[in-house]
Symmetry: C2
Subunit: 218 residues, 2 copies
DNA sequence: ATTATTTTTTAGACTTATCTAAAAATATTT
DNA sequence: AAATATTTTTAGATAAGTCTAAAAAATAAT
């Protein structure tokens, strides 16, 4: 079928194409995959050969229908495994990503179907990202960035944009988790940092960099 | 760390070394790995370089302490995953092996520790093979081959030597599973086949080839 | 419209794991 | 002990994925 490497490229292209309406650039892929542009070009030729992407020299790439299907199925597996690790093996949300990065490549339709059933068809992963169903469909969650909240507004944390362990551990320390109720007490203009009242108890101060990686209810 | 391929070679050598007291031959490894002897030689040099095996040209190989540890840890993972698939994802015992063959290579100490805990530290996998604990220790089950039973003897099926789906499906069809009580009704000398009374109900006829792949209580 | 900069591709090399074919060592037969 | 057969190793090739360095194309700046 497809190699781990091919699958990872497709996933990267999928994620990048959600951030632009043009084709995805070779360099952006290289950056995301932590590899060199020349390696990316080699792989693009191969993926194009396999009809997984639309590729014309110097033009950037888009996923074909087939390519998108593969990408979404990898994301589905990734998120289902993350859910499993947190809900059944007592992993913390900052520990699951690297393991899911491996598990997502296990090739068994039956496995993932049964896992989904075992988990009772969860809709969101531990970071608040939607889990595609068997057909590849998933809701685009209605949510805004914490930075977009206005003073006095109340919301609930729905997810995070950044999955790095250090970031998630920092959120744990601040007491910010999925489901946490937050109210914007103050917005500081000079550095765009925010004072938050969490669960109507403590107040914490979050930097712009932190706030822009947190999704809250709309 | 070690590549999937290296891990598979170590596992193969481990299994083969349990069947001989001499060193394991290049050819036997090639046969088990379904590859060519020349490829095996290449890998032996590499594993030797990494101090995972004791290798001298033309002499056959043995695992070092380190090599044995790796092999047993892979087997531990393989069998824990098989147990998980059967007990929690409703796989049949003939479906688990190829999937476990992939899962066994996932590299996370925490994952396998937590999985073991979640499964409640099972002692045997779905084929009756013992599951090594965290330290690599496991009981050598006291069992004999079905072919070694004498006429009139009663025993319980404890495991199978062959994990091929076709074999296990055939056993299902015959009504032979782990835990099934069997009594030798007749042994036919001319082809070494056996008539078995199972669970004091039906009688089935099993060939020598089938019987020698079934383990029963001693 | 040139020139300069950035992006992308090509050319050639390296690594891992594999193969075929041939050579070397070991084991078996006569 | 010599000849024959088998096993194992070497030599050289190939495919996947990566890299560096250089060339080509596209963008941006003057
Ligand atoms: Mn993740
Ligand atoms: Mn991945
Ligand atoms: Mn197995
Ligand atoms: Mn394996």
């Amino acid at each position: 079928m497809h190699s781990y490497t091919e699958e990872n490229y497709l996933k990267a292209i999928y994620r990048l194409s959600n951030k632009t309406d043009k084709g995805v650039s070779t360099n952006s892929i290289a950056e995301r995959m932590e590899t060199k542009a020349s390696s990316v070009t080699d792989m693009l030729k191969k993926l194009s050969e396999k009809k997984l992407i639309n590729y014309k020299k110097y033009q950037g790439v888009t996923l074909t229908k087939k390519g998108k299907q593969v990408a979404v199925s990898i994301i589905r597996k990734h998120r289902l495994w993350e859910y499993f690790l947190v809900e059944h093996l007592n992993f913390n949300w900052d520990q699951v990503h690297p393991v899911a990065e491996e598990l997502e490549h296990i090739k068994s339709e039956l496995l993932i179907e049964r896992l989904d059933e075992f988990l009772n068809y969860p809709k969101y992963d531990p970071h608040g990202d939607p889990i595609p169903d068997k057909e590849g469909n998933f809701p685009i969650p209605s949510r805004i960035k914490l930075t977009e909240m206005s003073k006095g507004q109340k919301s609930v944390i729905l997810g995070v944009m950044e999955n790095a362990a250090s970031f998630l551990q920092y959120l744990d320390k601040l007491g910010l988790n999925i489901g946490t109720e937050v109210k914007v007490v103050e917005k500081h203009n000079f550095d765009n940092s925010i004072d938050l009242l969490i669960n109507n108890k403590q107040t914490v101060h979050v930097s712009h960099e932190v706030a822009r990686n947190i999704f809250v209810s709309n």
